[in-house]
Amino acid sequence: MAGESVGSHRRGYYLYLIPGFVGLVVIVIGPQIANFVLSFTAWKGVGTPRWVGGQNYQRLLTDDQFWGSMHNTLLYMISMTAIPVLIGIVLASLLFDYVRDQFGEKVSSFFRAAFYLPQILPLTVAGVLWGWILNPVGVANAILKTVGLGWLAQNWIGDATYALSAVSLVIVWVQVGYCLVVFMAGMSRIDPALYEAAQLDGAGWWQRLVSITIPMLAPEIFVVVLTTLIAALKVFAPVFVLTQGGPDDATLAPSYLTYYHFFTTQRVGYAAAVSTVQMILTLGLAVIFLMFQQRQAAKGA
């Protein structure tokens, strides 16, 4: 009975989807198609693109810069996903399970807000600050020298040995807050009775974390890992602000390579090819993850 009336009115609702759909086409789908088409052309950014077939992709296969940037992406995945997720879980559990009990809600909220602050700060601003901290005559080295650890002082962002780690450190600093906040929200969903029962049985903080928190947080962990992996594939701002991909391409990321070819070498077609590969990887990753999640959800049900 109800089904019939919904069915007959359903067509009218589609009208309301039009504005959103137009936005999607103009801002997301259109440029993606344009980008895909451009990746088969040679184009300087003005004038008429010239069709070159698969030449850009062929060039991609032998481009050391591109492969170097893909290699760096793997490392950015560690600093954007693996480390922040691990630190995020431990910190969230500490704040939720220990700090809140011992020091109260306010202290716990304060730390949560403080860890989240880097997410709110514009990365361009944070990047400039980190640049001042990490440059050879910067704050980090000045402090090390003052406390007598001058031998530890390094040319953090200017030496290929440390540059990638230095950029990664800044990324971890930014990402931890995001993981922490999502995990803490997830923890408030877990039935406190589970913890109480475990506590009565004599389980310590670490045991509770491993046996209750992590399994129960699986959906949140899943979302955070997916979103941060996608972000790692697209990382740009920290690299742009801190090192411009240097020294000698040691911190280069695919997005920066795209930007470089689009805006400075005027190989727009080639830049489009790099970003098409990037897009396919991102989409592939997302699809695999979503399929995996669906299977997990089905199992759970």
Binding site: V26, I27, P31, A34, N155, W156, I157, G246, P247, D248
Partner: protein
Amino acid sequence: MKIALSKVALVAAASLMLGTTAYAQDKTFNIWWYEGADSAQGITWTKALEELKANHPDVTVNFEQKTFDQLQQSGSMILNSAEAPDVLEYNKGNATAGLVSSQGLLTNLDDAYTAQGWDKILNEGQLVLSRYDDLGVYGSGHIWGISTYGEYVSAFYNIDAFEKAGVKVPTTLEELTAAFETFKAQGVTPLALGGASTSGQHLLASLAYTKADDTWVQNYQGLKAPLDGAPYLFAAQTLTDWLAKGYITKDSTGMNDDDASLQFTSGQSPMYVSGTWNLGNFSANIKDFKWGQFVIPTPKFSVGSTGNLWVIPKGSKNPELAKEFISLLLSTKYQTEQANNGGVSFAADPAGVTNPVGANASAVFAQIAAKQGLGFYPDWPVPGYYDVLNQKDTGLLQGTLTPEQFVDEIKQVYDDAQASQ
């Protein structure tokens, strides 16, 4: 279809980058430049714009401060859109002004050059970068832009520190090395360097020019032949040698030009190799010591050129006002004003220039220009070469590239561009 779509994407991208820009209306004059407000050009141009306003009280003048990077990276898209202003400062060179002129986005200034009397102020040598041919290569063809100032790279030095250390201003490369050695022996790192920035590649090019003749510079800048790496090999070897001897520090790979120039202005390093665009900053901020500049000793060529160009976009609604503004900037009054603000002028009245910095810089530029020794900038021949030189320069400075590898890597990119033009 694909062109239409890409245009949509472009306009979207360009308008995102520009933010909101008011559409030109009647009696509105839109003008952009990116020289800093406290630079000699910025101060002078602001005053000239005031005079233009006073001469045309019925016109609303809209000035927007841009940055070099904005126009370096998206200039062609802006000029290709309805957002372009009536007149603007535009980056000189094949990859920028040359590209947009060859795409028909600029107004031809051949007639204005004589009609406005600019031919009586400028000479053909100062027009080399104003002319671009049909392919957008500088040096011949129509006049597409006008420069009203010059610039060159030299060594800035701390006169007080030189006197204290008993060092004379070097006139040969050997004397320069000896000066470095004297400072080094006294525990001072003699040369501040922004290895990841412009000053790194300008130092390399200055050293390369010590081994360069006319043919090499013309071939190099004109992208006429595969790169003859010998001058760069000498430059790279010299740089690694200086690094090994401690004349420059390995830390320079983590420093940009701002960090490096701070080493000079704060008195920590007695020398810094960079361009005349620092003159305004140094005049304003160095209070504790006397400073001067000397040209890096080369047989003929220095890194330098006439300045960026004033161009009038094809869609300019006020081309006459634009020309009037350029004429103002070339007038003796504002050329003198510019030199007095520490800038490099073409046609200042020597009697009217009271600022020794501007007078000296204008005189040095005139000398270099007179022997036709403007070697231009090392990143010009190949689009994107600026980043390549920065990346490879840091590789050299941090020791991951040998001088031979350095030359191989920059040669590969150069020859690639040379072959595919």
